[in-house]
Chain length 269, copies 3
């Protein structure tokens, strides 16, 4: 059985290792796959996107995700099941929903059973005390119902991913986050860009950034087709529209950051 694990804990502190220890004490034979712990602190929207992108590449199992700025407050702890039978454990702040909604939400429970938590439960580390133990117990065969009461799906905090909008023959979207290589991930899928402006191949776009700067940037199937230092729009490996620079950091060169509005308008011609 597998537990996958995504968080904003980073790897400098012991948060991730401690959760691994907790899982292994409960379920010694479970295999843990760390999707990433490099989600920036409290970045629910980036965490939600990365979880939705990566779950299809993960083995079936329990998908534990913790980006939880509301820890210690009234937000609920959730266990969700999707239409494919995958299980999800995490906070009720929208983090899990983009991943779950790919196959449809089949069942939602609140995690309240104290037998499936460490004791005492701290106020600041529910990853260790509530979420990791619940994931480990689920991976060991605990029934979904034993965790706590059913949650009405309409009461869940919704997905935080910004929806792209078609405007004036273009597409208004947003940078969700910037990756290690300095490439900016937009909230739009290539399929959404195609719906708004038609196939992007071979075209150049007026790219308007949030502060009004406009760059003319070609769509390019690969980095290798651009000269060194030249920007490009491309589809990333998860089907999402991205803004990069060949052998460089688009974020540094163009001042790109998460949350920045980006409008894509194909050049006439």
């Amino acid at each position: 059985m597998f537990v996958t694990f995504l968080s904003d804990f980073g790897l400098r502190d012991d948060f991730v290792g401690t959760c691994h220890g907790v899982i292994k004490r409960i379920a010694p034979d479970v295999q843990i796959v760390d999707i990433t712990h490099g989600i920036p602190a409290r970045a629910i929207v980036q965490g939600a996107l990365v979880l939705a992108n990566t779950v299809p590449y993960m083995p079936q199992g329990v998908h534990l995700a913790v980006v939880d700025p509301g820890v210690g407050g009234p937000r609920r702890a959730l266990a969700l099941r999707d239409g494919d039978g995958r299980l999800y454990v995490g906070p009720d702040n929208g983090l899990l929903l983009p991943a779950v909604e790919r196959a449809g939400l089949a069942e939602a429970h609140e995690i309240v059973n104290p037998e499936y938590a460490l004791s005492p439960v701290s106020r600041t580390f529910h990853g260790r005390d509530i979420f990791a133990p619940a994931a480990a117990h689920l991976a060991s065969g605990a029934t979904f119902e034993s965790l706590g009461p059913v949650v009405d799906a309409s009461t869940l905090v919704p997905s935080p991913l910004p929806e792209p909008r078609a405007i004036d023959g273009g597409l208004a979207t947003e940078i969700v986050y910037v990756d290690t290589f300095g490439n900016a991930k937009l909230s739009a899928l290539t399929t959404e860009l195609v719906d708004a402006v038609g196939p992007p191949e071979g075209r150049r776009f007026d790219v308007t950034l949030g502060d009004g700067r406009v760059h003319v940037i070609p769509w390019s199937p690969t980095f290798g087709e651009r000269r060194q230092g030249e920007p490009l729009l491309y589809e990333d490996s998860y089907g999402r529209v991205c803004l990069g620079i060949n052998q460089g950091s688009a974020a540094d060169a163009l001042g790109l950051v998460g949350g920045l509005a980006v409008t894509l308008m194909p050049e006439a011609g």
Copy 2:
């Protein structure tokens, strides 16, 4: 069988991966749990604190820890057993002791048997050549005695953790380290603060930093009870007194670093 692993190796280089390889060559079926490798280089005191905090959450096994500024010098390599039967492997510089002393030191051996080391032993990477192989052999059933001679406990380098002191109705303590979120971990446990000044709940403290600056900071059970940007004293999930800021970095805002003296004095009232 489990080997847990804590070090100051970081994850940029191959040090951790190479130790994993060494362990798996000796003991292919052992499971390795990485507590953290983000201890700052040579920070024995932070490593000792994190090991003591986290071992109770780890499965029973061999706890390998390497923060070892004395590598290549005369410091001994140790294998320790605590009163709960947990085993520890690491350098004789105090790193292991706060974790071991929770259940009492039961047995100490020096690791000298060349059959349990790689050959040749390098001068700069005893994690790979001595400590990881010893941990793997112990996890595979090597007897404790076969590692080397018994060590007299009174000759061990003592714990490096600074002891808090009660003063004038307050508590003099110290920042041990700052975590990823910018929260400062003090050397005092909440129980020690209670002993010195009584229950902190609902009270405000004059917090004097090492350079004489004084901040008035409330004790708060959760971050969520403070406004954004407001500092708080709180108990972390390991029972330790910490200094944080709601949705911000206390280290950045208040200039906090490891080693800084901190005095906590409850306000009259």
Copy 3:
């Protein structure tokens, strides 16, 4: 069965975790050892050195390595076998060769079989779509021949490691990279230094850096023999000549970076 994994993916994004998921979906029982994912982006030469250094410490298996600036271009995907029966999977850019050449290249195939790739294959993430699946299938018993056609060894992109050269009674070498502690790894093995100038023990060297600065630096078997802040030449744990500073960063103090030329000339006497 083991898959070891080295890349320049870093741990901030999901690239490594996604490849783990892909491997585990294909080969759930395979154990993965992460050598490092901290190779700087596109640093083929550093990746090649680290892979060659560390493979001898790894369990027998499939050695997956991805530092791949040519992704999306015409470079081939390779599966190599060395004289010891170890298997290697990665791009045809020289990355694998220094590791493979220790035991001699025994067999080379191009990976082209679409049954051993994800579908569709993205243009930017061959780690996930081609290399990780091929490694997982090999670790699960797929025959080497089934991956694709034999590659003529003379057509492989050669090793990128700079060769040290003996000059005027000294050795001209180069900094390959700087490690986490600020130590500079030179391209020369100690054995190569000995061949050029004789045993270095007890001697001092005129160390000429690329920009003409000359430092007089002693060879020292251990850091502990130097005073705090004093530079030293030493042999690292992989038999390579390095330039460090006791309890400090040689890179910061001396302005060392990868690619900088370094000439080592023993002082007369």
